[in-house]
């Protein structure tokens, strides 16, 4: 909570953003345009991990159903496009409205429980959404459906260019990081973080924890939906696979890997997770096993994730 540490994390995020901004240049020098494609996927997951960190890291709410919001975002693109509505802003607005409603209802119910029960109940709601979309035969059911085109931006189809899409996604990530950073440092954020620290004390000084937790839950769901809109566009494809519980678990991994409750760590976690995934896949078909080992080591030796390692290195130097 102390000021220098928070400042350090903003600097870390700015460095990450600068790195992303240079990625297309690296791709061009390395003559590997695929880097930009992976880059956009990382950015979209970065948004989702950031959103999850807001409730997991700051509000101590481990949602195991957050992929549902990726699904609302992705299917908002597919469904609205089918009806001729292709505007990115409208896709995002629809995804956010649906997600807000869903988060409000399921959050109000889930927050009646705590700890492992909260995890299980959010998982159950996530699976409900998953099965709903698998039964949507007009959109390919289990198999999903391809998008005929990416969302349009102010009536133009510039997002078809991977480079433009990459920078638009980067801009969205930066904007949402800024938003999350402001929320965390606000009056609301202080109450939310206080609930994580000690809910009994927060009640005893006059705050009703659930109202704050539910609000954060809704904000997080809406931000994740925006990630879903971008992911569908990146893949030019939507399917219930976006919503499976594996995906929810991966989002949790990203946050924990990066260091929960740090915001910039969540983005670093998304980068690490997807880079490792792509990289390990080349070496071994058992990459998931290797990945599991890395995670276990991380949790054992650096409970604060990548952020913890970097902070320790920085302290060692100064």
């Amino acid at each position: 909570m102390t000021a220098p540490r928070i400042h350090g994390r903003v600097v870390a995020a700015l460095m990450l953003f600068a790195g992303f901004a240079l990625l297309p240049l690296v791709a061009w020098l390395a003559d590997d345009p695929f880097l930009v494609v992976i880059g956009a996927r990382i950015l979209a997951y970065g948004i989702a991990a950031l959103a999850l960190d807001l409730i997991l890291g700051f509000g101590a709410m481990v949602s195991f159903g957050h992929a549902a919001y990726l699904g609302f975002g992705a299917y908002a693109v597919a469904i609205l496009s089918r009806f001729g509505i292709t505007d990115l802003g409208l896709h995002m607005a629809a995804a956010v409205v649906v997600s807000a409603g869903f988060a409000l209802i399921t959050g109000a119910i889930s927050l009646r429980t705590r700890g492992v029960y909260f995890i299980m109940i959010t998982l159950a709601f996530g699976q409900m959404v998953y099965f709903f979309f698998t039964s949507l035969s007009a959109f390919g059911g289990d198999d999903g459906t391809g998008l005929r085109q990416r969302s349009t931006l102010l009536g133009s189809s510039v997002l078809e260019h991977d480079l433009v899409f990459f920078y638009v996604t980067l801009a969205v990530l930066m904007a949402l990081f800024w938003l999350a950073h402001r929320i965390v440092g606000s009056r609301f954020g202080r109450v939310l973080t206080g609930i994580r620290e000690n809910p009994t004390r927060i009640e005893a000084i006059g705050f009703a924890p659930r109202r704050y937790q539910l609000t954060a839950f809704v904000i997080s769901g809406c931000m994740t939906a925006i990630a879903g809109v971008l992911l569908a566009n990146q893949a030019e494809f939507v399917s219930p696979a976006f919503i499976s519980w594996h995906r929810s678990g991966e989002l949790i991994f990203m946050v924990v890997l990066g260091g929960a409750g740090t915001l910039s760590g969540a983005i670093a976690g998304a980068v690490t997770m997807i880079v490792l995934e792509e990289w390990l896949e080349v070496f071994t078909e058992h990459w998931k096993l290797v990945f599991g080992i890395i995670l276990v080591l991380m949790v054992l030796y650096s409970p604060r994730g990548i952020t913890g390692i970097i902070e320790r290195l920085m302290r060692g130097r100064s």
């Binding site: 909570m1 402001r182 929320i183 606000s186 609301f188 009640e203 005893a204 006059g206 009703a208």
Partner: protein, 249 residues
């Protein structure tokens, strides 16, 4: 009108009657001490007054209005604050942040998402004033989790005071501190005497007899006597049930 009134409160945990027909009236401005042996049900009684527990039967009134079924936060907004026997602070927050958050609870909406709370001077100033008065003015930016035991106890008090209560419920504020530090603590409580009403649970008899206007003795969930410190000291039933025991041990 009494500030805080307990009408025939009862609470059982299974077969154990922890609160057994307790009635009590706490007058405005008084320090009302509740003493009693370990396990007498003192903490459980405080938890019912502050709303963490609901009595099985009976009624609690604050300034004449029934608060028996209000939630803990709603009671805080009516002016009822508590401290905990086992220190309960926000360990990852600085000392200043712990107290500023308690100030925030009573000053305007906390559904504000953009302004930086760390830069809200009115919150910080009010928190500093309370921390200066509890001798923590030079520990503002230390993490609460890193404080010494005595400092923890003072922060516990500061947080409760920062909610600006009219009634303060103190559950063994001196637990684990002694000597000069305890004397200083008693001074700080005495300084507030008359400005707010206090229900003080305390094992330290010197502190109780130095501070209390009236004392109630709780044994096995039952109030066996209420009176001035002098009356309590000389009450044979109290001596038998409690004070004698204390002297013997």
């Amino acid at each position: 009108m009494s500030r805080l009134t307990l009408h025939d409160l009862c609470l059982s945990f299974g077969a154990l009657k922890v609160t057994d027909h307790v009635s009590l009236a706490v007058e405005p401005g008084e320090i009302h001490a509740i003493i009693g042996p370990n396990g007498a049900g003192k903490t459980t009684l405080i938890a019912q007054l502050s709303g963490q527990l609901t009595p099985d039967s009976g009624r609690i009134e604050l300034d004449g209005s029934d608060i028996t079924h209000l939630s803990p936060p709603a009671r805080v907004h009516r002016g009822l604050a508590r401290s905990f026997q086992i220190t309960s602070v926000l360990p990852g927050f600085s000392v200043l942040e712990n107290v500023a958050l308690a100030v925030q609870a009573r000053s305007g909406s906390s559904f504000r998402f953009f302004g930086r709370v760390a830069e809200e001077q009115p919150l910080n100033d009010a928190a500093r004033a309370v921390l200066d008065a509890t001798d923590l003015g030079d520990r503002l930016h230390v993490l609460a989790g890193a404080l010494s035991h005595g400092e923890h106890r003072r922060l516990e008090l500061a947080i409760a005071l920062a909610t600006d209560p009219s009634v303060l419920l103190l559950d063994e504020p001196l637990a684990g501190i002694g000597g000069a530090e305890a004397e200083r603590f008693v001074e700080q409580l005495r300084a507030r005497k008359g400005q707010l009403t206090m229900v003080l649970i305390e094992h330290d008899m010197d502190a109780v007899f130095a501070l209390a206007d009236r004392v109630s003795v709780l044994v096995y969930g039952r109030i066996i006597a209420t009176g001035t410190p002098d009356q309590i000291r000389s009450d044979p039933a109290v001596r038998a049930a409690y004070l004698g025991q204390e002297e013997a041990s």
